[in-house]
């Protein structure tokens, strides 16, 4: 019985991967062009596109739950309902973290690596939604300021890549750079995946022995204002990066 369940989850996981790719193609080749037809205003269009992705990701999560691939636990997420103009930071244990965050956080904007703008499945989506390209350092902060001012929250994984399971986290300085230079506070989210799966070093078909539980916990907002130093942003960014990394390691019980 357990073995049958394992093979079912292996099949269902593959099916989810395929549906995700096809879904992204469907949205960028059918839904978005239809929206273009009826919505003339460009900023309205990207707002509607962002809402479409929010709902599509929510649907995708429901589908994964329905297939028995995972279950989802959300803690304190009611505080995200009215969240505006924050940098949302999270640890990054699995491939699907960002899908969960976008599914349950309204107004999520993302800084994404440049290569996604050429990825055949995702470029239609990231362009249309107006996700922020990390290619140029100067342009990045202009785009982030604009996004925050429009009421969005910017989602960043400070590690820059998926976490090494069980190891102390190592934060890069991108998230703190956005916070310091755009004068924004942090909304931290802790993510845990039990048993661990879809990690950096494993393939999608290494499904765990039992259905996994992904838990997302929204923590108290961090006031970054002591770090808003316009004279020496590089020092402020380093201090803030250190402080947040320590906070995450301490709370997640990973010894720094």
């Amino acid at each position: 019985m357990q073995l049958a369940n394992y093979y079912w989850r292996l099949f269902a996981t593959g099916l989810c991967f395929v549906s995700f790719g096809l879904g992204a193609l469907f949205i960028s080749s059918i839904i978005f062009p239809l929206q273009t037809l009826f919505i003339k205003d460009k900023s309205k269009r990207s707002k509607v596109a962002r809402y479409t992705i929010h709902k599509a990701f929510r649907f995708f999560v429901v589908m994964m739950k329905f297939f028995g691939v995972l279950s989802v636990k959300l803690e304190n997420f009611t505080q995200l309902e009215n969240l505006r103009e924050h940098v949302v930071i999270a640890n990054h244990p699995s491939l699907i973290d960002v899908i969960l965050i976008i599914a349950y956080l309204p107004n999520a904007d993302c800084v994404v690596k440049s290569s996604l703008f050429t990825n055949p499945f995702l470029r239609g989506v990231v362009k249309r939604v107006g996700y922020i390209d990390n290619e140029s350092a100067e342009q990045l902060f202009i785009d982030c300021k604009k996004s925050l001012a429009s009421g969005c929250n910017i989602v960043v994984f400070p590690e820059g890549t998926r976490s090494e399971i069980g190891q102390p986290l190592h934060f890069k300085r991108g998230a703190a750079n956005i916070a310091v230079r755009c004068q924004a506070n942090y909304q931290p989210i802790f993510i845990s995946v039990q048993p661990s799966t879809l990690t950096k070093n494993k393939s999608w078909y290494d499904v765990p022995d039992k259905k996994f539980v992904i838990t997302l916990t929204a923590k108290a907002i961090i006031d970054n204002s002591v770090h808003f130093d316009e004279q020496n942003p590089s020092l402020a960014v380093r201090a803030l990066t250190r402080a947040t990394q320590q906070y995450f390691c301490k709370e997640l019980k990973l010894n720094d």
Binding site: A137, E138, R173, G174, N177, S234, L235, R238
Partner: protein, 83 residues
Amino acid sequence: MQSKEEIFSMLTELLVDEFEIPAEDISLEAKLYDELDLDSIDAVDLVVKLRELTGVKIDPESFKQVRTIGDIVNALAEISLAA
């Protein structure tokens, strides 16, 4: 007109004070991104700070070719020579 030694010691001071880089790690051969833990945003800040200090304007595009401390020293020496 500054000598290369003067440029190097100015640069060292800047990197220690404003980028928290340990002085003992800084040498002409040290690689900015791999060894000194600088990132692309720091590079932009560094160009700004160098302009404030020396009045020399390095083109951010040409700064992207820079790999080591020695590359910066040479670039600054060249520009101030040309000026």
